[in-house]
C-alpha cells in the first residue's frame, strides 16, 4: 500500500498513526508525499489527512517510549527533506517499537540506521552552518545573512544566534527556500521572503569585509596549501554566501 500525505511534519505523523492503525504488511507499506508521488500500476493508494490530534498522539507515544532525544532525531530527519522520509520513518518506528525502549539505538539495524542517517546529515550540516553563516551590516543597522543550506535548517540556526547575538538586530534568510527569520532583540519571527536584489550596506561594512578577506588570505601557510583539503572541509556549494570566498 502506498499512503500519501501532504509533506508536512504533522501530516507525516498523522499518516503514521493511520498506518499503525491499519496494521498492514511493513515491507510493502510506503509513505510518500502526495505532490511528488507518481502512480504506478498495481499501487494501492491510501490518502491520509493531517489530524493534529493524531499527530500529537504519535509524538506523545514516541517520547514516552523512546525519550525526547529520539523525537528530536525524528524532527531533524524530517528537515533533511529526503523524499523517502515518510517510508523511512514508518519502517524505523515499526522496528523500534518491536525492540522496545532503547530501540532507536540499535545501530546495526537497517531500518533504524536509515532514519538515523537522515538525522545525522542534518545535525552535521546544522553544526557546520553555525560557523559559516555570514552577517553583513545594512544601512539601517540590521545584520543580514543569506544562506542556502542543503537541508532546511533555518529553524535550527535561530536559538544559537538568539543567544549569541542577543543585542543586535538580525535577519537570517534562506534564499533557496525563500524564507527568513527576523530577530528584534526580543523575539524571533519567521516569514516568507524572496531573494533581495539590492542590499544597501552600512558605511563601515565594506571595510570589515575587506579586512576579513585580507585576514583569510594571510592566515594560510603558503608552503602547506592544500586545495583539495580546503574544498573537503568547506565545500564549494557554500562559497557563494561566504564573504571570504566572494569574488567581487
Amino acid at each position: 500500500m502506498v499512503y500519501l500525505y501532504d509533506g508536512s511534519f504533522e501530516g507525516a505523523l498523522s499518516a503514521i498513526f493511520q498506518m499503525f492503525y491499519d496494521k498492514g504488511p511493513v515491507k510493502e507499506n510506503q509513505l510518500k508525499i502526495r505532490e511528488l508521488y507518481q502512480y504506478q500500476i498495481f499501487d494501492e493508494v491510501v490518502e491520509t489527512y493531517t489530524v493534529p490530534d493524531q499527530a500529537s498522539k504519535v509524538v506523545a507515544s514516541v517520547i514516552e517510549t523512546f525519550g525526547e532525544e529520539a523525537f528530536r532525531r525524528i524532527g531533524y530527519a524530517y528537515l533533511s527533506e529526503d523524499p523517502d522520509f515518510g517510508t523511512k520513518l514508518y519502517r524505523c518506528l515499526k522496528r523500534a517499537y518491536k525492540l522496545g525502549g532503547l530501540g532507536m539505538e540499535n545501530y546495526s539495524d537497517e531500518a533504524i540506521m536509515d532514519l538515523y542517517k537522515c538525522y545525522n546529515a542534518v545535525a552535521r550540516e546544522s553544526h557546520i552552518m553555525l560557523g559559516l553563516i555570514r552577517f553583513a551590516e545594512l544601512d539601517k543597522g540590521i545584520f543580514y545573512a543569506r544562506f542556502e543550506p542543503t537541508y532546511d535548517l533555518i529553524g535550527l540556526m535561530v536559538p544559537h544566534f538568539q543567544e549569541r547575538l542577543s543585542d543586535q538586530l538580525w535577519v537570517i534568510h534562506d534564499t533557496k527556500r525563500r524564507k527568513a527569520a527576523f530577530y528584534n532583540k526580543e523575539t524571533v519571527h519567521f516569514s516568507d521572503l524572496d531573494p533581495i536584489e539590492d542590499l544597501y550596506y552600512s558605511s563601515k561594512e565594506e571595510k570589515y569585509q575587506k579586512m576579513w578577506k585580507a585576514y583569510f588570505d594571510h592566515i594560510a601557510i603558503d608552503e602547506r596549501k592544500n586545495p583539495k583539503l580546503h574544498r573537503q572541509m568547506m565545500p564549494k556549494k557554500y562559497w557563494n554566501f561566504l564573504t571570504e570566498k566572494m569574488t567581487k
Binding site: S108, D109, F135, S166, K207, A214, H218
Partner: protein, 427 residues
C-alpha cells in the same frame, strides 16, 4: 600604518601557531550583551591550507626582542615587516568580526616587546577591555608569555577561556640550541601554576555559588616537530607527561616550516607533513583510546610508521591479541581494534543490547571494514581470509599512496634505499 596593513602583517606573523580550537568552554550568554562560547567549539572557515579558522588569530605585535632560530618573528629576520596593534584596534576587530559571525572569538599572542612583563600587561589590557568595557562573552585564547610574573598570568586567567604557554621544542637541549633566551623552567612553572589554579577554582565551584571562572577551557601548548632531531617516541612521551601531570587539554604539533634560512636549525629540509599527521594520530590514541606512549612506540622501534597509522602499527605488533570477538569484548578493547573509533565503539555497545551483531550489521554501524575485518570475529567467524601474520597484514593495511593529497615519493617510502638514514624517516 592603518589597521588593514597591521592585520595582514600580524596575521602572517601568527599563522605558524597551529592551535585553533574554540571548544571546552560554555561561557553563558548575558541578555543584552554580546556573545557566548559553544562547548563543542565551532569552525567558522577553512583557510587554503585546509586548516580551520575558528578564532581571530593574531599577534599583538611581532616586534620581538628574542632571536629564536625556528621563528619567523626572530629579531634577526630583517625581511619581516613589523607592526604593533593598539588595544582599541584589536577590540574593534574582534567585536566587528564576531558580530558578523566570522569568528568564534580571539586568539591573541605576541612577540616579546621590551620584556615579558610589559608584553603580558599589553595582552591583559586587551582582554580586560573586551570583557569589562565591551561585555564580550565570546571565546578568548591567550598566550602566556614565558618569563612573565606569575601574578600577571594569574590575572589574565580570570578573563580568558584558554591559556597556552608554548614549550616550543621537545627537549631542553634543543631549546638551548635554537632559543637560547628562553628557559624551560619559565614555561613549565606557569603551566603548573595554571593547573593548580584551575583545580582550585573547580573545587571552589562545587562548594560556593558564584566563583570567578579561571581558564575554564583549560590550557594547551605547542611544540615544533622536525626542527631538531628527536625521535617520535620522545615527543609522544613528552605529550603523555603533559596530559597526565599538567592536565593539558591539547598538545599541538607543528611540522617545522623553514622560515628564511637559519644556519643553526639542524634539519633544514622541507618537512614531511605526513609525520605531523602520524603524530596527531598517536596523540589521539593517548587522549581518547586509552593507549600509553610505551604501547604506541617502543625503544627498538622509536618512530611512527609513515605507511600505516599508529593503531594499525600497534595491532600488527601485537597479533596475539587478535582477532577479537566483536560481541564479547569491552568498550576499551573495541577502541583498540583498527577501523573502530569512539563513535562506532559506542554504537556497537548500544546495538549489542539487541542481540549479536553480524558482519553486515558491523558495516551498517559505520565501522571501517577494510581495516577492521582482519582483526575481528563476528559470532566466532573470521572474515579476514588471511592469516594474522604481521608482514602480510602490513602490506594490506598500507594507506594506498596516490589517493592521498600528499603523495609519498619513493624516497619517503624507502628512505634506507634512497637516502640512507635521514633522522628516522623525517625526510
Amino acid at each position: 600604518m592603518d589597521a588593514l596593513e597591521k592585520l595582514q602583517i600580524l596575521a602572517d606573523a601568527a599563522k605558524y601557531d597551529v592551535s585553533c580550537s574554540s571548544s571546552g568552554s560554555d561561557r553563558k550568554a548575558v541578555k543584552g550583551a554580546l556573545g557566548n562560547a559553544a562547548l563543542p567549539g565551532i569552525c567558522h572557515s577553512f583557510s587554503e591550507d585546509g586548516r580551520c579558522i575558528s578564532l581571530l588569530k593574531i599577534l599583538f605585535t611581532n616586534k620581538c626582542i628574542y632571536d629564536c632560530a625556528y621563528c619567523i618573528n626572530r629579531s634577526s629576520n630583517s625581511a619581516m615587516s613589523r607592526a604593533e596593534f593598539t588595544p582599541d584596534e584589536v577590540v574593534d576587530l574582534t567585536i566587528s568580526f564576531y558580530r558578523r559571525n566570522y569568528i568564534e572569538g580571539l586568539f591573541l599572542s605576541s612577540g616579546v616587546v621590551r620584556n615579558p612583563n610589559h608584553t603580558m600587561e599589553l595582552l591583559i589590557a586587551v582582554v580586560k577591555r573586551l570583557r569589562e568595557v565591551e561585555h564580550f562573552n565570546g571565546y578568548i585564547h591567550l598566550k602566556g608569555i614565558p618569563g612573565a610574573d606569575q601574578h600577571l598570568i594569574e590575572t589574565a586567567g580570570l578573563y580568558v577561556d584558554r591559556m597556552s604557554i608554548n614549550i616550543e621544542l621537545p627537549t631542553t637541549k634543543s631549546l638551548r640550541l635554537l632559543a637560547p633566551e628562553k628557559s624551560r623552567s619559565d614555561m613549565i612553572a606557569p603551566m603548573g601554576m595554571i593547573k593548580d589554579k584551575i583545580e582550585q577554582s573547580k573545587a571552589m565551584a562545587s562548594r560556593y555559588k558564584s566563583v570567578p571562572s579561571f581558564v575554564p577551557a583549560g590550557q594547551s601548548t605547542q611544540l615544533i616537530v622536525g626542527a631538531t632531531d628527536e625521535v617520535d617516541l620522545k615527543i609522544i612521551k613528552i605529550s603523555e607527561a603533559l596530559y597526565n601531570r599538567m592536565k593539558l587539554k591539547r598538545v599541538y604539533y607543528s611540522a617545522y616550516v623553514p622560515v628564511g634560512k637559519s644556519a643553526i636549525v639542524p634539519m633544514n629540509q622541507v618537512h614531511s607533513l605526513r609525520r605531523e599527521h602520524r603524530i596527531y594520530q598517536a596523540d589521539w590514541l593517548l587522549r581518547f583510546y586509552g593507549f600509553t606512549a610505551d604501547e604506541i612506540l617502543t625503544r627498538e622501534d622509536p618512530n611512527l610508521d609513515m605507511e600505516v597509522d599508529p593503531k594499525c602499527q600497534w595491532a600488527i605488533r601485537n597479533p596475539q591479541l587478535f582477532p577479537m570477538e566483536i560481541n564479547k569484548v569491552t568498550f576499551m578493547e573495541l577502541l583498540r581494534i583498527p577501523g573502530i573509533g569512539n563513535v562506532t565503539a559506542r554504537r556497537i555497545i548500544a546495538a549489542r543490547r539487541f542481540g549479536n551483531i553480524t558482519f553486515e550489521g558491523l558495516a551498517k554501524i559505520g565501522v571501517v571494514m577494510k581495516r577492521a575485518k582482519y582483526f575481528v570475529t563476528c559470532n566466532g567467524k573470521y572474515y579476514g581470509a588471511i592469516d594474522l601474520e604481521p608482514w602480510k597484514l602490513k602490506q594490506i593495511l598500507i594507506d594506498a599512496p596516490g589517493k592521498k593529497a600528499n603523495q609519498l615519493t619513493m624516497v619517503e617510502l624507502f628512505p634506507q634505499t634512497f637516502g640512507g638514514d635521514l633522522g628516522g624517516l623525517s625526510v
